[in-house]
Amino acid sequence: MTEAELLNRIKNDPNEFAELFKSYYKPIFGYIFRRTGKFDDSADIAADTFLNALEHINSFSYKGISIKVWLYRIATNELYRYFKQKKRRNRLIERIDFENRAMFNNYLYDDKIELEKELQHHDRFITVLGALKTLPIKYMEVISLRYFEGKDNKEIAQILNMNEGTLKSLLSRGLEKLRKKCNQI
């Protein structure tokens, strides 16, 4: 099924959103986790991202960007709010109704243990992420998309809705700042 077909199906029946969720939840969650390094916040931001996407799916139309890029854009905006506010979010996961809350919390806990274990295997990444978090958000965004997610410049420019020239300049300045920060550690 093409993205356009999936989009049409979702617009006709919101329950079809489950397909989109299945395809993109894991990569989007991974992106958010590699930005924050915190499981609880990542789970909440990811839930916010997909709820936001579901609510605005009817206004989404192909204007040169794919659904995947659009989801990354929503997640990036949610992350921007998260880093800007620098306080605990009003957690959607705690407010949303689950058929079996206890089971969901158990699953969430298992995932947290698993991912925190996984994170501990990447010492160098933890150090770089720590340094990256001290930089302004604009550098944080471009560097994580380029070096953590492996996106090319065209895709990053689409996600951040900026031209490639600005992106290249941000990347080069950000990289230099990050190198200096990492050298200090």
């Binding site: 919101p14 991974g30 407010r95 949303i96 699953y107 698993e114 990447h122 990444f125």
Partner: protein, 139 residues
């Protein structure tokens, strides 16, 4: 050169990968379900609007009558229907609207959010109209 090396190190550096997320399926079901949809449509709003419009027209075109006296007249003539129209129906509409607003608030979680107001404005109008009808009926 130093920057080039640093960039290469960043590219080669291993990153944490998300292999499996147990909570994914339950969250997916909850989010699709949690999508705030208004249970009250324009059709529902038409019923109290029609009643108010009819009574207002009668008050306007029949000299010497008031909205309250017209409602009282209808109540005397059609006691069961009037209870249904002026009490039962507004209460049901109020409950539906209140639940819808609560659900919308739960999912958006921000009282000052403009998006929340855009979502529930119809429910707020129905709540207000229902309260007005009940007050007039009780007088």
């Amino acid at each position: 050169m130093e920057l080039q090396n640093f960039e290469n190190n960043l590219i080669k550096m291993t990153k944490p990968e998300v292999s499996q997320l147990k909570h994914q399926d339950m969250l997916e079901a909850a989010i699709v379900k949690a999508r705030a949809r208004s249970a009250v449509s324009w059709w529902w709003l038409c019923i109290p609007m029609y009643l108010i419009a009819a009574l207002c027209m009668k008050t306007f075109f029949m000299p010497g009558t008031t909205l309250i006296s017209n409602m009282a007249e209808l109540t005397n003539k059609e006691s069961y229907s009037s209870i249904l129209l002026f009490l039962f129906l507004p209460i049901v509409l109020m409950i539906i609207s209140a639940i819808t607003i609560r659900n919308a608030y739960t999912t958006s979680g921000k009282a000052k959010n403009v998006a929340l107001l855009q979502k529930v404005w119809l429910n707020v109008i129905i709540l207000i109209i229902s309260i007005i009808i009940i007050i007039i009926y009780s007088l």
